[in-house]
Symmetry: C2
């Protein structure tokens, strides 16, 4: 049985609202809310603001990650929603982020990651015990 | 002039060394070294270990991000190398990680992100002033 371990939405958002995608709090809040809407479980959020403009935001989730990189000067966001398991509503998360960033145009490429041919139904990442996290800052 | 803001390598690594891709330190050290080899500048590394197996690692760089999700039980890694600017040697980073994880097979999809039609040469993300980082832990 061919099955994929992960689902990856690769999203190009054009003509977004420049101020919204240049505000670290609005970007981080939108990403966190999108994770919540999807039903994924957040592990850690990292937000990085460039000067004079641009945001990089990554949320590590138990089911992989959400990431966004914004170019406010061009109204563009590169969004990735990478999830595993079959219980994550990534399309609702995408719809929410399109509205949050007021994107007028977008394109979506959906990729199946880790296509395996195994005789049994694949389990997504187990989460039955202690979860260890570590964070380091380099600057 | 049509130009892209970012370059995204979407990499499927099969038949990796199960123990190497299930060790948080070996995965994180390999990712950090790959970033260094590429010439990118690391901002923050987040590593998340699942129990009993599996690692999620994301490194936010000034030029976007590197991420890896491993399924040691299947010898599989989903690797993404997303960079901006034309000075990052992402292929050397990819070669290094293939060797580090002892992947016997891989496939690579290369996507140009943020294709824009502008009359001037695009600058990649500026880094001329203060960089602000923030980290939060959710557990």
């Amino acid at each position: 049985m061919v099955q994929s371990l992960g689902n990856h939405l690769i999203v190009e958002m054009y003509d977004c609202h420049s101020e919204l995608i240049n505000d670290r709090h609005s970007v981080e809040n939108a990403m966190i809310e999108a994770v919540r809407i999807s039903g994924a479980k957040m592990v850690q959020s990292v937000i990085h603001q460039f000067n004079p403009h641009g945001i990089s935001g990554v949320i590590v989730i138990e089911e992989s990650h959400f990431s966004v990189h914004t170019w406010p000067e061009y109204g563009y966001c590169a969004l990735d929603i990478f999830t595993c398991g079959d219980e994550i509503d990534y399309y609702s998360a995408l719809q929410y982020l399109k509205d949050a960033f007021m994107a007028k145009n977008l394109s979506v490429t959906e990729m199946k990651r880790g296509m395996l041919n195994l005789p049994v139904k694949l389990l997504h990442k187990p989460n039955t015990g202690e979860i260890q996290n570590e964070k380091r800052m380099y600057n």
